[in-house]
């Protein structure tokens, strides 16, 4: 494969880098419109209560207050991001289900006044018993958080079986059963959610919001506000970090819209940091039981996974999250048969949803730590064991997912080599055997290395609502100036998707990325893109952009060919010129070529569309998990553990990532490093936990997330597999590299001190407890030891598709070249 690129592969700055660095970028909270009012939400202090009455009379008398609204001022519709979970109200009318549920909203001349008025709203609550854990919710079916679902307080109950796992276990040399717990944590974006709504006198409405998915917000606003979608315009403001936390429609957006409609002024609502902790939709706490069979050589014979998700108070993306705790595991290692049972339980806490890695870091942690334990029992090197059992390229998994390219073997080789794995794994282990007594004052810090691998989707194969339309669209307009404008509904949440669009268009048209203007997502201007989630944007928008650019190129070629009297097939675009490579002196400037094109064709505007190949498994639930291609990551962590304090210090992280192709290696490295950093926080300190029904630490100071001082050296190594599904071969980078970090850390801690902490986060207290158990001669393991009494539903039994070859050609719905 010898593709020649000019822009692709270059370590270019992001196109928005200057604005971000100089402070020019104007986020939603920076917006000020003439006559703008400021809004504030009144939120519930109760975790579970019936709302008997709300009296806004006192609040309305406060000077400077323009309007006070409750749920009664909104159409009575429940909504939710997934069609199967329509269970939210912007302002709760009957019941509040968590501390932080909004019940009323105020618009006033300034924020202080709005705040003061909120405190004068009298809400008569009848408190109900609050259920704050999976165990409590299952133990109290008489208390119902919602009336719908798959059982009392059970939002979703799924069971899928691909082949006979019991037979596989019976034929195994080693069968392990382990229980793990992964505590919830939150996205912690730098920018707090904010929205500005402007209802105008013509009855139309514009919303600027810090959102990852303007399209879904647009669709849902029409329903929630009961007005024609055609009269609503949603514009994505620059997003200061998303990570999945800005993917639902939120109360502050809806309240801002309604308040603006009522008072005829623009209304801004900017959430406080504390509110963002309650808006949440972050990592689910998940309890996991995993049973895996192995042969002596380290092959996996079969795997059975059960997961219990603490969903919080609402559905959100939870049905998808539930599936994701099961369906991605078989994509990494050969797993001939597989059974997955999962249940999402409602609790009276902020709803969980998609956070970077959506539902997959938890089972990944379980699987990778269990593999480490199995390797030890089998006397195998954990890196070699993994290397041997990787999924074959262009085959299907037990659960009918199609794997295309897989560069994981090379990723493992690279991190093993770069980290000095082979030397360290034996040397540190030998050092750990020494157990000489030591004085109290002398610290003993033991070194360890750990490895883990992972895989992740490059875009979900199905949309949130069933349809046959493109998942992503691009309109490209060539200007007589020689510039090109990209209109696309994708939102750049810091990952650099706008830049990717510019690079790809510039690559196809032989331009400098600076010549390409990328317009922010705007539902009145830009074609639909579903949103910045599931690592879909580079692949899907990228393919649409390439298609649009190729269509534009061929129109321009036609005109230039006529002008130069050559065959259009002989033309090329580069260096802002169009011409025949062998006769480049006659090449015309791109701007001139556009004029020729416009003279021949009229306005030069071309669309590109993308929808993923239709490859979903033909069974109920088969729609979650398919992706055009999967990224792969291998990670080695080196750390040391202080035996007296239990503190873990990370020294180095070597991470190899199969990126397909690095469209911009600098951006990929940024995504990988950000993922590692976030993974470290999850692994050793972050916890979204509640006490007396409220968030224990809803602040940047007390919700502990690492600083630069806790971030070790990160050595990123990229592997390019040139995937046939990706734009110029590219796969995702935004989420996958987070996944192996937590288990690699857990495995390294075990390597250092012989303590298994089967529970995230791995705090110093837990490490110390494990060391204490070890000293007492007990099993040095800290983690959950029981699972709930819970009946999963009868599994849907489907034949395993393991090892079947991928369909020779994937059908891509809007492709120009259906081969």
């Amino acid at each position: 494969m010898s593709k020649r690129f000019t822009v692709v592969g270059q370590p270019l700055p992001k196109i928005d880098a200057w604005g971000k660095v100089t402070g020019d970028t104007r986020f939603a909270d920076d917006m000020v419109l003439p006559r703008m009012a400021f809004g504030k939400l009144l939120r519930s202090p109760h975790a579970h209560a019936r709302v008997r009455a709300i009296d806004t009379a006192r609040a309305k008398t406060v000077p400077g207050v323009y309007a006070v609204i409750t749920g009664a001022d909104l159409p009575r519709v429940k909504f939710g991001i997934l069609p199967v979970s329509q269970d939210e109200e912007a302002l709760c009318t009957e019941k509040v289900r968590m501390v932080g549920d909004a019940v009323a909203a105020v618009a006033a001349v300034d924020e202080e006044t709005a705040d003061r008025a909120c405190r004068l709203i009298d809400v008569d609550y009848e408190p109900l018993p609050a259920l704050m854990s999976i165990q409590e919710s299952l133990a109290h079916p008489e208390v119902r958080i919602h009336e719908y679902g798959d059982g009392p307080n059970v939002h979703k109950n799924v069971a899928l079986q691909f082949g006979d796992v019991e037979a596989a276990f019976a034929a195994s040399d080693l069968v392990r059963e382990d229980v793990f717990f992964y505590e919830g944590n939150t996205h912690l974006p730098m920018e707090q959610h904010a929205a500005v709504a402007h209802a105008t006198a013509d009855g139309k409405l514009t919303l600027w919001s810090s959102t990852q998915t303007p399209h879904y917000v647009h669709r849902l606003l029409a329903r929630i506000l009961d007005m024609p979608a055609a009269h609503i315009r949603v514009i994505a403001a620059p997003v200061g970090g998303g990570f999945g936390g800005k993917l639902d429609p939120f109360a502050h957006e809806i309240a801002a819209c309604r308040l603006s409609q009522l008072i005829g002024r623009p209304v801004k609502i900017a959430c406080t940091r504390e509110e963002v902790f309650y808006i949440h939709r972050g990592r689910h706490p998940v309890l996991m039981w995993i049973k895996t069979g192995f042969t002596k050589a380290g092959d996996i014979t079969g795997c059975h996974l059960k997961t219990w998700l603490d969903g919080g108070a609402y559905g959100s993306y939870g049905v998808a999250s539930t599936f994701y705790t099961g369906v991605i595991n078989p994509v990494t290692y050969k797993m001939p048969v597989y059974k997955f049972e999962g249940a999402r339980i409602f609790t009276n806490k902020p709803p969980c949803g998609p956070k970077r890695g959506h539902g997959t870091p938890q089972p990944r942690f379980a699987l990778e730590v269990q593999l480490d334990k199995a390797a030890e029992q089998l006397g195998l090197d954990p890196a070699d064991m993994r290397r041997r059992i990787l999924v074959e390229p262009f085959t299907k998994t037990a659960n009918h997912l199609t794997v295309t390219t897989i560069g994981l073997g090379e990723c493992i080789d690279k991190v093993v080599e770069a980290s000095g794995w082979r030397d360290k794994v034996s040397r540190y282990r030998a050092a750990a055997e020494v157990d000489a007594p030591k004085p109290l004052w002398q610290p003993r810090r033991r070194r360890g290395v750990g490895i883990a691998c992972s895989s992740y989707m490059t875009g979900a194969g199905t949309a949130i609502y069933w349809n046959s339309m493109p998942h992503s669209g691009v309109v490209l307009r060539a200007d007589r100036s020689g510039g090109v404008t990209v209109l696309c509904g994708a939102t750049d949440i810091g990952q650099g998707s706008d830049s990717i669009l510019a690079y790809l268009v510039a690559e196809v048209l032989g331009l400098d990325p600076k010549d390409v203007h990328v317009h922010p997502a705007d539902t009145s201007l830009t074609p639909v893109d579903l949103g910045s989630y599931s690592s879909r944007v580079t692949l899907m928008c990228g393919q649409a952009a390439i298609q649009a650019a190729e269509r534009l190129r061929s129109a321009i070629f036609k005109a230039v060919a006529a002008k130069l009297d050559v065959d259009a097939g002989a033309l090329a675009m580069r260096e802002r010129k169009v011409g025949v490579p062998d006769d480049w002196e006659k090449a015309v400037d791109f701007a001139r070529a556009v004029e020729l094109g416009e003279a021949m064709h009229g306005v030069l505007a071309f669309a590109g569309s993308y929808a993923p190949p239709k490859r979903a498994g033909k069974y109920k639930g088969g729609g979650v998990g398919p992706s055009p291609c999967y990224s792969y990551t291998a990670c080695v962590v080196e750390l040391s553990v202080d035996e007296d304090t239990g503190e873990v210090e990370l020294h180095d992280v070597w991470i190899g990532h199969d990126i397909g192709r690095a469209l911009n290696p600098l951006l990929v490295e940024g995504q990988v490093e950000g993922s590692v950093y976030m993974g470290i926080g999850e692994a050793v300190m972050e916890a979204q936990v509640f006490r007396k029904h409220v968030h224990k630490a809803p602040s940047m100071l007390e919700y502990k997330s690492p600083t630069t001082l806790e971030t070790p050296e990160i050595h990123t190594m990229l592997v390019e597999t040139d995937d046939p599904e990706g734009p110029f071969g590219a796969k995702e980078a935004g989420q996958g590299p987070l996944l192996p970090v937590m288990p690699a850390i857990a495995n390294a801690i075990y390597h250092a001190v012989g303590v298994r902490v089967d529970e995230i986060p791995i705090t110093p207290e837990k490490v110390l407890k494990g060391l204490e158990l070890k000293r007492q001669g007990k099993a040095a393991r800290v983690g959950p030891d029981r699972v709930p009494l819970f009946t999963f539903k009868q599994p849907l039994v489907v034949e395993s598709a393991f090892g079947a070859p991928a369909e020779a050609i994937a059908v891509r719905p809007f492709s120009d070249t259906p081969s």
Partner: protein, 376 residues
């Protein structure tokens, strides 16, 4: 956004004026210097002053004078950055330089003052929360309520003394000068605090802390270690300040003071006593450390679990003493790593690392700055 409520700002130029303004406004007024603790607390409704008396414009409150031979005085409004970087402080009172340099983050240390840290409000994770949060759980006696949420049966407040510099000043035998309507008075830093989360200062509300005075440093060595989850930004959840005066190798005076494990800094008197008349050896260090944990009374109201904080007292005291004894310089043979010395609080280089001075201090896992050995 959470807004700072409106207040009147008074800007005296002299301590006398400041005292007068404070007296005039009575309970409605509070003092502000760096404001790094006060303003967030005002945003969350913990403090609701109508007026603030600003100390930043009072020249006489800033600066360091004297030397280690005669003793040092530090104006209460001297920034923590200035204290940490002061060569005489770093050389002769290293624990104070360390403690001042470990408060919060570099940006905040440029605004925050020594006096502010000495007087910093006690902390509790049932109290350092927004008005709405506290309302949801039913308020505590420190603000707007009448019970203690961490110890519901208790008649007193258990908020935690969270100053890094207080235990160090106590251990160093520092005195505090206060100016009030009745004139000036001086009291030992050890007498400045009271074991009560609300009335944690013996300073009267109408008094202003004007300066901290350190006695002559001859013969004294000191060290400060801080427990917190991260290498920056976090308040201490255990602070260990140790100061010893040796004649030859024999300890003649010793003070081990614990921070952030009670509502006041607490002297571990048994540990101090155990050291006097001893050389700092492996055995005497271990004995003193084992005796140190008694006064630590942590409760479940900070980061980390309280049994963990209690348990780490002996480890930290032992490590602090080992550092004073110079026991920490040798490599550890147990960490299996070559080319890097493993010793108590193995240093972790700051990113981009040099912080000035001939031998760049480095931040370690306990957050302590390890620099050149103290001169003795």
């Amino acid at each position: 956004m959470i807004r700072l409520p409106a207040f009147e700002y008074l800007a005296p130029r002299t301590v006398g004026d400041a005292v007068k303004y404070l007296a005039d406004r009575g309970a409605d007024a509070m003092l502000v210097a760096g404001g790094t603790d006060l303003f967030p607390n005002m945003k969350r409704g913990q403090f609701e002053p109508k007026a603030l008396v600003g100390l930043r414009g009072i020249r006489e409150l800033s600066g360091v004078s004297g030397d280690g031979r005669a003793g040092l005085t530090i104006g209460a409004a001297t920034t923590l950055s200035a204290v940490a970087a002061h060569p005489e402080v770093a050389r002769r009172y290293p624990a104070l330089a360390t403690a001042a340099g470990l408060v919060s983050s570099p940006q905040l240390r440029n605004a925050a003052t020594l006096g502010g840290n000495v007087c910093v409000d006690t902390r509790c994770n049932w109290y350092n929360q927004s008005y709405e949060w506290r309302k949801a759980v039913g308020f505590c006696m420190k603000k707007d309520g009448d019970i203690c949420l961490v110890a519901p049966g208790s008649s007193r407040c258990w908020a935690v003394s969270s100053s890094d510099t207080a235990p160090v000043l106590w251990a160093l035998g520092a005195t505090a000068r206060l100016a009030g309507p009745a004139g000036e008075r001086t009291l030992p830093v050890s007498a400045l605090y009271q074991d009560d989360g609300i009335a944690y200062l013996a300073k009267r509300p109408d008094e202003i802390l004007t300066e901290l005075a350190l006695p002559a440093a001859d013969g004294w060595d000191s060290v400060y270690l801080k427990l917190r989850r991260r290498g920056s930004f976090d308040f201490p959840v255990l602070g260990v300040a140790v100061a010893v005066r040796r004649e030859g190798e024999v300890v003649r005076e010793a003070r081990v003071v614990l921070g952030a494990v009670a509502s006041t800094p607490r002297e571990a008197a048994a540990a101090s006593t155990a050291l006097v008349g001893q050389r700092l050896t492996s055995e005497s260090i271990t004995r003193a450390a084992e005796a140190a944990a008694g006064p630590a009374k942590p409760l479940d109201n900070t980061d980390f679990t309280h049994p963990y904080r209690k348990r780490l007292v002996r480890v930290y005291v032992a490590r602090a003493l080992a550092r004073l004894a110079g026991l920490d310089a040798g490599p550890s043979s147990f960490d299996g790593f070559e080319g890097r010395p493993g010793f108590p609080g193995e240093p972790r280089a700051l990113a981009g690392g040099v912080r000035g001075g001939s031998s760049p201090p480095r931040l370690n896992n306990q957050g302590a700055i390890s620099g050149p050995p103290p001169s003795t």
